[in-house]
């Protein structure tokens, strides 16, 4: 890994992220910086839509590294996460060997378990050398995968090597930059967290969120962006089942600019609430007087 491209300080990391339009909390920049310096995976947990996945994308773009993403889901196994043998190609190879009259079994087995029959999945790709430097490996929503997969991942993250029984051991010349995200649909085991640097990504405060909206939604008027952020911040203080994340704020601001809105009105908010709240119960609670009150507070400044 060429260390020259890596930021030299927390401020450097902040600048690097900001230059790509990711306005991070200083605490997040600190943890990200440390994980690069120490070569430890970064474990990000937080509500949906607070920018956990985004940071991996931004980091890979800023450092000029390849981004390899492994989206986790229930039932994820080695064949879809690490590697698989291309059995169709292998069978053709066997038939060809037969046709050519090769009967040497030893030779045959070493031939058909060669690298060209190996289908490499994200985790194995991340261990491969890259001219641009070690890639950024994003393991997204790890909580959706089964616990058994977590144990396997633990092995890979500890020594960055994979052993394929028919083929041998593949070891990464430079360990990739690993970022793991979780939405907490279940608790991740302590053993895995122990190896990582942990950070809880929280909702941004009003000032930062305003900056994010302005940088992400070009063409939004100053007044509208103010009102949008105030309104969303007020929503988060309500006791909703699912509070809107930053992604929702950006969506909503974009939606409002698409509708050529200049400022928030009860009618407008009522019609576009689906961009912010994704549960019927939550939307039902935000009708009538509650909506009026929150809106009044948000637009009074």
């Amino acid at each position: 890994m060429s260390a020259s491209t890596l930021p030299k300080s927390v401020d450097g990391m902040l600048e690097l992220l900001t230059s790509r339009g990711y306005l991070a909390e200083r605490s997040l920049a600190t943890v990200a910086y440390l994980s690069l310096r120490m070569g430890r995976p970064l474990f990000l947990e937080g509500e949906a839509g607070v920018g956990k996945t985004e940071i991996a994308k931004v980091l890979s773009a800023a450092l000029g590294r390849k981004l390899i993403r492994l989206q986790c889901y229930e039932g994820l196994d080695v064949a879809s996460a690490v590697y698989e043998w291309s059995s169709a190609a292998q069978m053709i190879a066997i038939r060809l060997a037969e046709a050519a009259g090769d009967t040497d079994r030893e030779q045959l087995s070493s031939d058909i378990f060669a690298e060209r029959f190996l289908i490499k999945r994200p985790l194995l790709q991340a261990l491969e050398p890259d001219v641009a430097g070690a890639p950024v490996l994003l393991i997204d929503e790890l909580d959706r995968a089964d616990e058994a997969f977590e144990a396997y991942l633990l092995e890979i993250l500890s020594d960055f090597q994979v052993t394929i029984p028919e083929f041998g051991t593949i070891r990464a010349p430079h360990p990739p930059i690993v970022i793991i995200t979780s939405n907490r649909t279940r608790e991740i085991h302590d053993a895995l967290k122990r190896r990582c640097l942990y950070h809880w990504v929280d909702y941004p405060e009003a000032e930062r969120e305003l900056a994010i909206v302005k940088s992400r939604v070009p063409g939004i008027s100053a007044k509208l962006s103010q009102q949008v952020v105030h309104f969303v911040q007020a929503l988060r203080e309500q006791d909703f089942y699912k509070s809107p994340g930053v992604a929702e704020t950006i969506d909503w601001a974009t939606a409002l600019t698409e509708l050529d809105a200049r400022s928030l009105t009860p009618q407008l908010v009522g019609d576009t609430l689906g961009a912010l709240l994704k549960y019927q119960d939550d939307i039902a609670r935000m009708q009538g007087d509650t909506l009026q009150k929150v809106l009044k507070d948000a637009t009074s400044d």
Partner: protein, 409 residues
């Protein structure tokens, strides 16, 4: 510890036991440990005798360390051993002058530590020793228990009779093993999916001719269980037993989360992971602040739904709600939270000890509110009904009925 082997039998007049024989003492001590729940076989007793001869018995601490090294094989037994040792060798007056200079394991706690009643009872069993205070044994009663048991200091003290009774009964309960098919596969001769990789590898033995076809089948795993246990005053007679039950389940299964609620919600999953029931229940009781207080089911369910629901109800969890449903302030909020809980788990089983009364009717407002939102409503007040619960957990889930597809009204 000095390890000077003396070939002659050392006389242990230091121990000054009533019987005067080291062998008898060690055998008796081994018996006491066994009665207190530490597995001690005759082999260990013989080892202990050998070890005591191998060291020069100079002080109590050496004897303690030696016997501990032999008898204690698991961390959670250390506490029981310490108490048993203290009680058993307490009568030795000769130790007194040495005790000042010898560091002893520290268990001079303010409250009686867990397991002590167990140990005392174990020592109080008929034996050659008669200087141990006789402790009155409590019988296992499923319906009556001292109120103070639920207070911190006494909750940690279960009588050996109770523990034995409950754990024996619970050990006999066959927990359901495999019931949820996961989406991952493993080699399985009866499986439905072709395992090309292993099939090809085996074909190489026959020069590339595919003769034996390998299959994959789905891995089956027990469903996660989430227990919500009401510890309010009206439930106090049952709380301990349920905790024992949950502790047994936690021991057998990997994925069990346990929450206690009275006026507030406490997650005691980790506390129940301790292997020894005394220790598990003790750390449970120390992490809860509202034993046997009031009950606020709606508020507790709300905080569960908000803070924990998404985190523990994944992978098709079964929820056991153990509560009598006696909630004074039953309102629409309770129904709402029950509904949410019901929708976010695979099965919601409500266990209500009040169901033991044959004339029980759902008159209380809270119970009426909660009933429409459960898949099953079962009694749970004695071992029989607990066994019934186990059966229910093993059975395939009933089909989702219409209660799930209610109109918004």
């Amino acid at each position: 510890m000095t390890a000077e082997v003396s070939c002659t039998m050392t006389t242990i007049d230091h121990l000054n036991p009533p019987t005067g024989h080291m062998a008898d003492n060690v055998v008796g001590f081994g018996r006491a440990l066994r009665a207190a729940g530490i597995p001690v076989g005759p082999g260990a007793v013989i080892d202990a005798l050998d070890a005591l001869q191998a060291i020069e018995i100079g002080n109590r601490a050496d004897v303690y360390a030696t016997l501990e090294a032999i008898f204690v094989k698991r961390h959670e037994h250390m506490l029981i051993f310490a108490q048993a040792f203290d009680l058993f060798f307490r009568a030795a007056e000769d130790w007194k002058h040495m005790l000042d200079s010898v560091p002893l394991p520290d268990h001079a706690k303010k409250k009686p530590p867990p397991a002590s009643r167990r140990v005392q009872e174990a020592l109080a069993q008929p034996s050659a020793r008669d200087d141990v205070p006789q402790i009155q044994e409590q019988e296992l009663r499923l319906s009556v228990s001292d109120k103070e048991i639920l207070q911190k200091k006494d909750f940690a003290q279960m009588s050996a009779a109770e523990i034995a009774e409950v754990t024996r009964a619970i050990a006999n309960m066959k927990l359901p093993q495999a019931e949820l098919r996961t989406r991952r596969y493993q080699p399985d001769a009866k499986g439905l999916r072709l395992d090309m990789r292993r099939t090809l590898r085996s074909s190489l033995r026959t020069g590339g001719e595919i003769i034996d076809i390998r299959k994959l089948g789905r891995i089956e795993k027990p469903a996660p269980i989430v227990a919500l246990l009401d510890i309010s005053g009206s439930m106090s007679e049952y709380t301990r037993l349920f905790l024992h039950f949950l502790h047994a389940i936690t021991d057998a299964r990997k994925r069990v989360s346990v929450f206690l609620f009275g006026t507030r919600l406490t997650n005691v999953t980790r506390a129940l992971r301790a292997r020894d029931p005394d220790e598990a229940l003790a750390s449970c009781s120390s992490s809860v602040e509202d034993w046997a207080g009031g009950t606020r089911i709606a508020t507790s369910l709300h905080s569960f739904n908000k803070l924990w629901g998404r985190r523990v109800l994944g992978q098709g969890a079964i929820v056991l709600l153990i509560s009598d449903g006696l909630e004074r302030e039953a309102d629409a909020k309770l129904a709402f939270e029950m509904d949410r809980l019901h929708r976010s788990c695979r099965r919601l089983i409500w266990l209500n000890p009040l169901l033991r009364y044959s004339g029980f009717e759902a008159k209380a407002q809270g119970i009426k509110m909660m009933l429409p939102h459960v898949d099953e409503f079962r009694p749970v007040h004695n071992l029989t009904s607990m066994e019934g619960l186990i059966e229910a957990l093993s059975a395939p889930p009933p089909p989702h009925h219409m209660s799930r597809i209610r109109s918004a009204a």
